[in-house]
Symmetry: C2
Subunit: 846 residues, 2 copies
Amino acid sequence: PAPPGTRQRELQVEAPPMYGRYTQELGVYAKEEAARLRDGGVRDGAGLRRNTSVRSRAADLLEYEKDPCAKCHLCASRCQKFLISRVGEDWIFLILLGLLMALVSWVMDYAIAFCQEAQKWMYGGLDSNMLLQYIAWVTYPVVLITFSAGFTQILAPQAVGSGIPEMKTILRGVVLKEYLTFKTFVAKVIGLTCALGSGMPLGKEGPFVHVASLCAALLSKFMAPLFGGIYMNELRNTEMLSAACAVGVGCCFAAPIGGVLFSIEVTSTFFAVRNYWRGFFAATFSAFIFRVLAVWNQEEETITALFKTRFRLDFPFDLQELPAFAILGIACGFGGALFVYLNRLIVECMRKQKTINKFLLRKRLVYPALVTLLISTLTFPPGFGQFMAGQLTQHESLVALFDNRTWCRHGVAEEFDYVSHHHHAWKHPQVNVFITLVLFIVMKFWMSAVATTMPVPCGAFMPVFLIGAAFGRLVGEIMATMFPDGIHADGSVYPIVPGGYAVVGAAALSGAVTHTVSTAVIVFELTGQISHILPVMIAVILANAVAQSLQPSLYDSIIRIKKLPYLPELGMGHHEKYNIRVEDIMVRDVRYITLTSCYRDLQEMLVTAQLKTLALVESRDSMILLGSIERLQLQSLLSLQLSRLRRLEYLRQLAQDNGGRDRPASRTTDSTPSSPCARVNSSSNARQAVRFLVMCSAFRCVIVPSSFSLQVAEWEEQQLDEPVDFKNCKIDPAPFQLVEQTSLHKTHTIFSLLGLDHAYVTSMGRLVGVVSLKELRKAIEGSVTVTGVKVRPPLASFRDNGNNANVSEVTELHKLCIRHRGLSLPREPNPPDHSNSDTNYCQQVP
Amino acid sequence: PAPPGTRQRELQVEAPPMYGRYTQELGVYAKEEAARLRDGGVRDGAGLRRNTSVRSRAADLLEYEKDPCAKCHLCASRCQKFLISRVGEDWIFLILLGLLMALVSWVMDYAIAFCQEAQKWMYGGLDSNMLLQYIAWVTYPVVLITFSAGFTQILAPQAVGSGIPEMKTILRGVVLKEYLTFKTFVAKVIGLTCALGSGMPLGKEGPFVHVASLCAALLSKFMAPLFGGIYMNELRNTEMLSAACAVGVGCCFAAPIGGVLFSIEVTSTFFAVRNYWRGFFAATFSAFIFRVLAVWNQEEETITALFKTRFRLDFPFDLQELPAFAILGIACGFGGALFVYLNRLIVECMRKQKTINKFLLRKRLVYPALVTLLISTLTFPPGFGQFMAGQLTQHESLVALFDNRTWCRHGVAEEFDYVSHHHHAWKHPQVNVFITLVLFIVMKFWMSAVATTMPVPCGAFMPVFLIGAAFGRLVGEIMATMFPDGIHADGSVYPIVPGGYAVVGAAALSGAVTHTVSTAVIVFELTGQISHILPVMIAVILANAVAQSLQPSLYDSIIRIKKLPYLPELGMGHHEKYNIRVEDIMVRDVRYITLTSCYRDLQEMLVTAQLKTLALVESRDSMILLGSIERLQLQSLLSLQLSRLRRLEYLRQLAQDNGGRDRPASRTTDSTPSSPCARVNSSSNARQAVRFLVMCSAFRCVIVPSSFSLQVAEWEEQQLDEPVDFKNCKIDPAPFQLVEQTSLHKTHTIFSLLGLDHAYVTSMGRLVGVVSLKELRKAIEGSVTVTGVKVRPPLASFRDNGNNANVSEVTELHKLCIRHRGLSLPREPNPPDHSNSDTNYCQQVP
């Protein structure tokens, strides 16, 4: 056949390919057909699409692609160009990304500060009337949050929430297209600015990971035309996205090292060390620009930490304080687990309550507005807010909590004569500092858990960090009260530094919630002091140990709530899942095509199976796996077989033959006598032909003679019965294979390492099953689920744990041996032990 | 046949299996045989071993193993037990490891300090006579180094050097058994203590990684009986070893975070984030204990950093100093590359100079002694040492270099009235501080490069760190001279802190030499201050960028020098290697066994092929890959077939039959007519039998009648001609497969990710080649080699870069199709294009 690219327009006669179209009004169809012809038949595959529109999803399944092998071509030519110019552009890309993100972060911080100043100014200006003051205090955040929620909802609902769970899923290899568009970027940046400007207990860090990834994705797209299609490579995109995650955290906290480590811990399962420098470079550059902007704006004298502390350098803490730090860490571990649980509980409660759920779905802005109203009412400074430092922003609270001087000595609050108004908020004339701190912690705890469920772009890291700092401060103040002159015995007096406890608590609680150790590094970079390294490390590790054994991380929890296609981690100590093997979880009913399949099988397969790739086996009997073919490839094969060009050619031939012969279809039928499918389907063919005859005669089309239609329908039937020609098809000749005995643990490792979507299960080269991410996830969650009944795969408990692991495998091999030797082995030691089970199999083999 | 476990001792008559033993004295053989019988035939395979001892390496090849499947069994039963109790023991193990390593580190530091004090005391006590002083100054290190070299040489030569390259190789999956023994541990610890005590410019950090790994390996072995064989799992060992590497760095510098990151960067290619906590926990615990020991020993008041600095917190550096930091970083990059090059040059020079090489090989202790003599002569304080602060130890030098006060203002040295003698060493009455610093840098640079080539346990990190600090100090002092009142324009005066430059320089140079970014974190933890984070990060990244483009890292360089079986990294920007495909580098002459192979083929294969695993294919024609079998498995199959038990049984049968028939061998020959191998080899059998007849008649054995020997030999021949029974053989049914078109880049990634040793190359299921680590390394180094001609694989340059990547693959598939359809396709579009090349193949298929 002529190549599909060249357009042959000399033959204007075209048969309407209407086979199978008996469910639709014929008049409607005629109109459509006329419109299609007016368009000039731009799309070759349109005919095919109509042909199959009767079936379920056939129309979009068989959508003809101009370049069906676009993805495969990448590997050869593009990839090479790409790699030549790659290194230089990597630097340019990373610098641009860092610069852009630093600007975004700084501008956003500026805008947020402006918003909060505006609120303060409004609130301060109305101090004559408390009602007006209250209204101003409450309305402002409600309006901002409602706007944020509405704006995000309208523009891009994907921008809601933290974004780290989605990034984790994307970096795992799952394509979530909508999460990396320009719309999402705009929605996320503006929505986040408004949400944070409202003063709610929300964080900037999680969304910033998303924003940075968006930035990287858009920058890639933008740079693609400049550098010639280089930025389309998938591998590269992953590398760039993981660098972007580091940039996100890095420029949010001006913490390059912590940013890189945190992003690795939060988003990766296996990390390629060779990509390390990318993240470091971009995050450092970004953090640098972010802080330089502050210097240029005269906010700072030079580049320093965001929450600079001034702890004692010579004697930061006493050795005997370490138990207190350890207890703080353990308590933070429990607190972190509780936070994750609370957060999930709120979401699940709202989902389960059908009336609430329905109401909220209809009025999407009511929930955030209500939550904001509640929280801002409670923090109203002249009201309850005076007992919990409600007037302070997160930044101000943190600065106060990290202060290196004790707030109270011997249980009595000291005079805050040396400090700014930040500290006065903590000191209530009637109420002890301890009570203020406890109230602050308790209130902020549930407020943060509730606030982070609002449908606005927001993170939970900063609120949690703040709560941790407050908790640490509380412990520190208690310690300072208990040991007013410090613990150190000999010589000089070193009073206890409650600010150090705040730093430790902040790191420990945020570490517990996110299940990361790198929060330790983040606090060092945030405070600009590393003197408390050992207490911080001890507390963070203990907090992690406690939290990880109780709850999943906040991000994993969100992944489960959102049901994102992510492979959960194998929990520690869940040993029962080592008893599960692939054969317990695999899908045995694999959809495959054989070398002798005909196009009809292909069509059938495409219509019924939802898989992205299909297995190719040698034959139905041998089942030897030869490779896998992408769905797209099969679709294009099918489209080519029934393409307009071939149809035209056939029609031309038909027109030429029309004088000579009456039934040109019989000629083509004769020419394919050896096709196995054709022989099988010949009887059903005849029946269908009769049906079409009835239908076609009812349809009066002005374009082609009706006798042609029938012949074309017949021709199509014949085409479908031809065996598939795999010559022009890209086949992956080495799809990933597992064996039946592979343990779940190993399968999980391989899937995570290679970012697999599915793997075929083979037994001595024979395809016996397939395992996809879905099955794996089910199996893992079955044994991981923390709350609820643990589900084990059906066969796992019946299995003997002994050494009979390879029995079936050996038998399989034995069968193959016998098949090869023709059952004529002379001195076979135990001939009866396999003759029973194998007869069936052996008979199948000629 | 009877299972090999039950011993049948009733039949004492045994045939000496001496087939093929015609190269040895028969008398010697008779003695051996008698001795063997006296031993009681403990080893079943001994007979077999003798059988084949005539061939090249047959004796140790066919060593019989009691439990040939030991490794495979692990997966099933042990693994499970192991995982149940695993988590708790992980903690115990890590705590023990941390504790042990902290003790080792502390004791070693103590011993080193004692050694150095002893030298100082000796040197100080002899200040009346300069000659005596010189002798004392020089003899002491020479004796220590010579002892260290000799001790290491005798006990465990594996302990020489850093150990990081070896650990990198081991963690890559290559087994270097000798590197993890108790002997090596002792040699390394004692050798290292002596080497460092000598005061040579050597480091502790690299060897400590090795020591910690040794500790972990030994601890595993020690804990194995306590916890029931749990500590034998390979996966676990890798996890533990990578944690141990972190501990090594962590407890050496009291830098837990930096230790973890450094060890990841230096030893891993892909890192499993789930193992992150292990390293953190162990390193933190270890660093904690290490510092607590110092507190308990009254060395320190509380836990602080090892080289605590006291830089200004409010204004650590000015923004306008950043260019200076950047230049420092770039210069350190060049310096680092030069150091690696120099180090390699020295080793290669000595290797190439045959006379030197021969001499050094004979007198192994001469080289270290000479080097030590040279270095200690040059550092002799009253001599040249006075111009380069030769009297200071590394620790003292670093403390001085990190000092926060400037040494000179306006180019003139300030009065060091406030400081200890550390600083006086830098201030020579006649010589400028700058000259002292420059001399120090230059001398230490080549001294360190030379010293690290000595055959003692030593690392290069600390010397390089020190040189970097000195270089940074030099730049800092120059800056302080140029801007005596600081750069900051408005308001207060902030003088420049040269100590900050020293910190930056130390991180940058050590980062450049090791190609790591985490040296930045190490300096923060070492100095206890993080205020210079941005300059440090910028300098380290720039230094890395420069050094990585010029030279491999020091550890990769050593790996290449030592020719360790490690897969080098794909360098950045070497795009030509993306043009290489697996088909260019694979070995096409794959050794395989087929399902129809007989034991003789097996024997042949085992004797001639050196591979650890052999491919199993369906048949010689189809070549469809069914799996791979370990060499050990094949050996045991062969041993079973020719086992003493079966031989005994045969003899018994022979003895029973002896009355009835004259030639029982003929019976057995008749019973195996269908074995294909037997038929093929029957003529050669006859010839061999004659040969044995000649030989056996010459041999007069007292144990068995000589007529039996012949029969046994014949029996063995028959046994070898039987087809292999794979029933009792463990087969890996899914060995890793690549396709011919896989790019080198992808192959490299997969090999690194999965720690593969080899992979089969298949084309539509057919085995066409094999690629092992060796081929891959050759291919990569061919295009990576920095100095010398780049070698490209033969076919790479002839290839068109277009879209014809899958041509051969498609043809292959096409062949298979044709084979399946019997060449009777009716409307094949272009039949001639495959008929030419395929005829050969198609004819092979019946």
